[in-house]
Every structure is written in structure tokens, then in C-alpha cells.
Amino acid sequence: MESKFCDIVSNLFIAKLEKDFGFEGIERALFLANKIKSVYDVIDIRKFENIKIVTSLEKYRTINDKLIGTIYELNSSLELVTFSPSKSIFLEFTESGKIFFSEDDIDTESIKGLAIIYEKIGEYEYFHNKTDKDLLEPIAGIDSYFAPNTFKSLDEALEHYKTNVAKNTTCYILRGIWNDDNKIKIVDGSSEAIMRNSLCQFLRHRLRGLREVMPEQNVNERNPVDIKVFWNNTKHIAFIEIKWLGKSISNTTYSQRRALEGAKQLADYLDEYLQQNPNVVSNGYLVVFDARRRKIDSPISELTVEDVNFYRDKEIAYQPKYEEQRDDFAKPLRFFLNANLSN
């Protein structure tokens, strides 16, 4: 009986590392992992299309002498990397503390059996083994296995979600809301559940001090809350309500008014909840996925960049501004979802 574990092991990158490079290989990979983290601490991970970070298998050797390209040694600071305009970067870290850097697209074939090689191509991360490269299976809600990724506060987390996940739909779960690659219209039916799921996964993986993220199944006007967040050390509960704006394939249109309605529903809900549970500290968050486009019904070939970006900066004017009236209501967040006209 083939257990699920067999499948997992056969795809596990550290298993391949140990197979190819032995126990030493794992040790070196751990060393490299810490270095990758230090790099991602100081760079904007989305800036680069290709990132290669390597270290020699033999602890005290350097490996870049075997590579072709302009490679120079850094004086222990990664500043040059942070501000590098290049689309691809290469870094070698040695056990003795040296850092080598290049802005060329370095071909690492020649050192394949001699080094631990980490590569990030676009969104995908790999560790090379002797013959091939292993994909680190992408996980919803995180940018990289090695990027700093936890937030202590929900506000921080939601901000990050807005710019890093929603904006360009970088979450593979969230991608399910789109009808097509152009990201113009939203599918019918499960789009709300998808958004909920995407946000849930994100929060689950990225909130520190988190006790539980509970998605709601029955969302309606009386109970508009999509996600409940519970913390370990406080009695706070966060209620997140999700609304989307834009048009679905079946022509369901949600406009700004929907957002305002949502705000009211949330406020009412908070009141009722507070009545029934007076000793709980609650916080309400209204999160709006904004997929509005101008001339949204036109055929795609006719749409311009201005059209799709028309609503990008159009903030919603809420009346009343609940966040000013009450202290359990956070400023509503709008996640504008970019379209894709590259074809």
C-alpha cells in the first residue's frame, strides 16, 4: 500500500539533498537558508525576476571561481543588493563570512555537484540537486519559504495582503476568482469563498500569536462576517467582512454602494454581538476586493491601460465614517486587483 508519505518524500527537496549530498548537504542547506533569509530581509523580493544564492558543499571553499561572469566581493554589507537595478542577482556566501555578488545571469551548471544552489525564478523557488532542480511547493499566503513573513498585528498583515497578494493576484488560491488571464471579470458562484479561503490561509500562516482563523460558512446580511480571528493571549476577536466590487461573468455588478452597505451590516453586527457578549473586545474589518474596470463590458482588445486602471486610486467615500464614530471599527480596506493586459 502506497502511503501518502511515499509521495511526499519523493518530492521533498531536503530528501533529495540528503540523497545527493549526504548529511553534509543538509548542514550546508541550513547554512544557506539562514543566508537567504538575511538577503530577503533587505530586498524587495518582487523586484527581481531571477535570484540565485549558493554556497559550496565543502565548508571553507569558494565556488564562484568556477563561474563565468562579473563577480565581486562585497564588504559584508548587502546594501548594493538592496538597491541593485538588475533583474537578476547572484550571491555566494562562504562559511568564513565572505559574500560574492553579481548582477549577471550566472549559469550554475558547472557547479551543480559541488554546491548547494537556491534559485528563485519569478514566484517559484528551487533547490538544485545533482541532476535537476526541486521545486519548493508553493504555499498559499507566503511569498517565499525564506522571506520574513509574520506579523504581530492584523492591520500589518492586511496591509501586506493588499500590496503583495491581492494587487497582482499572486496567491494561487485567489487566482480562482478570475474568469481569464486578463483578470477583467470575476467568476460566479464561489468567488467569495475563494477570497475568504485565500485570506484565511494567508492569515493562518502569517499571524503570530494567532489562535485560530475561522471562516464562516453561512454569510448573509444578518451575519455578514466572513472570517473570525482569535488570538492566544487576548480576548480580542477580529471580525472580517469581505465584499467585492466589479462585474461577474453573469453580469452581477457590485458597485461602491455595496461597500457602504457592507459597512453598515458590519456595524450592526458588532452592536448585536457586543450586546450578547459584553466582555469580549471585538474589532470589525471591512475588506473590499476591488475589481472594477471602466468599460468593463467591452471586448478585451478594445480596453486600454487607462480603462483597467481607472478605479485604481478611487478610494471609496464611506458615509458614515464608522471608524471615527466607534473604536471597534477599523478603517475599511480596499484591495484593488490589477488587470493584466500584457497580451
Partner: protein, 198 residues
């Protein structure tokens, strides 16, 4: 015994803060629980770990020894709050000194260090939140959520047997091919998350 809990708090805390800047009690509980499970996978008894975990309503593993140890260390200023938020801590100078001595001069901890290291290395190679989510899905913890307060990992509990069965399945699948405990750790965690990690 209590000194094991104290050691774990300091050791995990110090290593956590180099990875995620600071640490909280819950994170220590998670990692030490993971370490304990790895120790069981490796053939030890749950009682060999030195202290017990019990269930609490959060679905997290909880050991009162760890909690007490943190309090004691905090009183002694061996760990200090990292900010106004009193939930997160950093190790203090005396704490670093102490864990250094315990870790390097005594052999009574060398066995558990290898399991704590596995837990820590899991979060070197994968995001902490992912590891946490995966761990909270394991059978003993998920079963405990449905029951009233009990000790985790009791031999007579059917959930414990489920866990042991999982480990046995894992051992069979791995077939002794790997030396590093990281491989069973990641494999098992992936299994519980139902999503490949790594």
C-alpha cells in the same frame, strides 16, 4: 523535571529570536512539542521528554512546566520583554550566559538538543506559520480539541495510537534511507497539512 523545561525555554528562545526576532510562550510550546514528537518518532517514550503536555482550549499544546519556567526566567531577568507588548520576549545577557553553560558543559541535555534542533531547523527551512499550522493538525492535538482537559500523548488514548500509527507508516515509507530527522519531520508535517512543504 523542571530543569528540562527551563533549558527548553532558553534554548528555543535564543534560537527563535535569531530567526524571527523574538519569541512568545506559545511558540516555545509549539516547538518543544514538535521536538517531543520527533523524540517519540526516534524511538523514545513520551515520558522521556521530562515534562508533559496537556490540552488547552486553543488547540495548542500546553505544558505548565514551560509556562512556569518562562515566568521564573522572566523574574530573574534572564528573558526580557521585547517591547511594550508583554507577550514577546528576548533573551537577556544572563540568560544567554546560562544557556551557553547548560548547553555546552553538561551532557544531560545533549539528547534533547538534537530534537529541539530538528524543530528549529524546520523553521529555518520553511515559514514558521506553515509549520505551526501543520503541527496543529496532527491527530493528538486535533482530537484533544474535542475532549475535556487531559494530558496529551497518554499511552491509553486512541489519538496517541493514531499518532504512533502515523509514525509507523512514516518509518515504513522512509525505509531507513535517511539519516537526518528533518526528512521525517517535513514529510509528516506535510502529511498533516495535506500540502507538500518543501
Amino acid at each position: 523535571m523542571k530543569h528540562f523545561a527551563l533549558f527548553d525555554v532558553l534554548y528555543l528562545g535564543q534560537n527563535l529570536e535569531t530567526r524571527i526576532k523574538d519569541f512568545s510562550l506559545n511558540e516555545i510550546q509549539i516547538l518543544s512539542y514538535l521536538g517531543c514528537l520527533m523524540s517519540i518518532y526516534d524511538g523514545n517514550n513520551s515520558s522521556d521528554w521530562g515534562y508533559f503536555f496537556s490540552k488547552n482550549n486553543s488547540g495548542y499544546p500546553y505544558s505548565i512546566e514551560l509556562s512556569n519556567a518562562m515566568e521564573l526566567l522572566s523574574n530573574k531577568k534572564m528573558i526580557v520583554q521585547s517591547s511594550k507588548n508583554n507577550e514577546y520576549f528576548n533573551t537577556g545577557a544572563t540568560g544567554i550566559d546560562f544557556i551557553d553553560k547548560l548547553s555546552n558543559q553538561l551532557s544531560i541535555y545533549s539528547n534533547r538538543k538534537q530534537y529541539l534542533d530538528v524543530a528549529l531547523n524546520c523553521i529555518t527551512l520553511a515559514p514558521f506559520g506553515v509549520i505551526r499550522t501543520a503541527l496543529l493538525n496532527e491527530p493528538v492535538l486535533t482530537s484533544a480539541k474535542r475532549k475535556s482537559s487531559i494530558l496529551l500523548l497518554e499511552e491509553s488514548d486512541f489519538a496517541t495510537n493514531l499518532l504512533y500509527a502515523q509514525f509507523q507508516e512514516l518509518r515504513t515509507a522512509l525505509n531507513n534511507e535517511f539519516e537526518s530527522l528533518l526528512i521525517p519531520a517535513f514529510t509528516w508535517l506535510s502529511g498533516n497539512l495535506n500540502h507538500q512543504i518543501g
